[in-house]
Amino acid sequence: MQLQTKRLARLAVFTALAMILSWIESQLPNFFPYPGMKLGLTNLVVVFSLYGTGKSDAAFINLVRIFLSGILFGNPYSIAYSLAGGVLSFASMLAFRKTGIFSVYGVSMAGGIFHNVGQILVAVVLIHNDKIFHYMPVLIVTGCITGFFIGFLSDEVLRRIKFRG
């Protein structure tokens, strides 16, 4: 019972943190004026909880923050984009982590790349225009760079905070 309460509180705090980062990111000017190119600050919380407290926590936070930030700062279409990006990114991070040969950097970079791949796939479906695939090379590279940055931040945070479930 006590463990359940603890987990509930932890999920609530992490989800709130993800929402705050989402909001901060929505206030930043668009450094890259292309759809899909975002820093993905929120992924910091997801990566951190994936390593710190486990994959079911991370999956929960990821899904809840996608719907909440979509409702607060976006619209049904932005939820479709975030959901595709978020789910594909999360699945790839689980798979890359499971291999056991990558550190949090590699896992986060894979997440960044597949996040953008997911967004492009939704864009192609929603816009009915496969010209969008032209963006793939640049989004793969930027996803890798932002993933590296998030991996770096996660690594630094994980080294400083030791979590006991």
Partner: protein, 130 residues
């Protein structure tokens, strides 16, 4: 960072490079143009359907009705096409640079509007302006 982690940026760069090369060198369907050549037509697509084709040499100032009733403002001036205004929430299309070279495009995702530079003949668009 572990050694294996480097595989991911390496794979990303290789994939991106191959993808880009395929886009550049793929045999053009109707023309012999390559990316980087100056295009001469501005093709506007809304929700995957051809909306209009304008000459890149024209002086054009039009409002394009996007999906869901929101508009984009397209201006063609001095051989460059630019989206100067939009009713979409993020305005990413407005921030994108003016385009003039073959295969360059400006995309407004929320309004499902794609403005693209095309070189040579394009037969499969219904509406032609100018």
């Amino acid at each position: 960072m572990k050694k294996a982690d480097w595989l991911i940026p390496a794979a990303a760069v290789v994939t991106a490079a191959i993808w880009y090369a395929l886009l550049i060198f793929k045999p053009a369907s109707s023309t012999t143009a390559n990316a980087g050549d100056y295009g001469d037509k501005v093709v506007v697509t809304v929700s995957g359907k051809g909306y209009a084709v304008y000459s890149l040499d024209s002086e054009t100032d039009v409002i394009i009705p996007g999906a869901r009733g929101l508009n984009n403002h397209l201006v063609i001036h001095d051989g460059e096409a630019n989206v100067v205004g939009a009713e979409c929430p993020d305005k990413l299309c407005v921030h994108q640079k003016a385009i003039s070279k073959d295969s360059e495009m400006i995309v407004c995702l929320p309004n499902e509007v794609v403005v693209e530079i095309v070189h040579g003949e394009e037969g499969d668009y219904d509406a032609v302006a100018n």
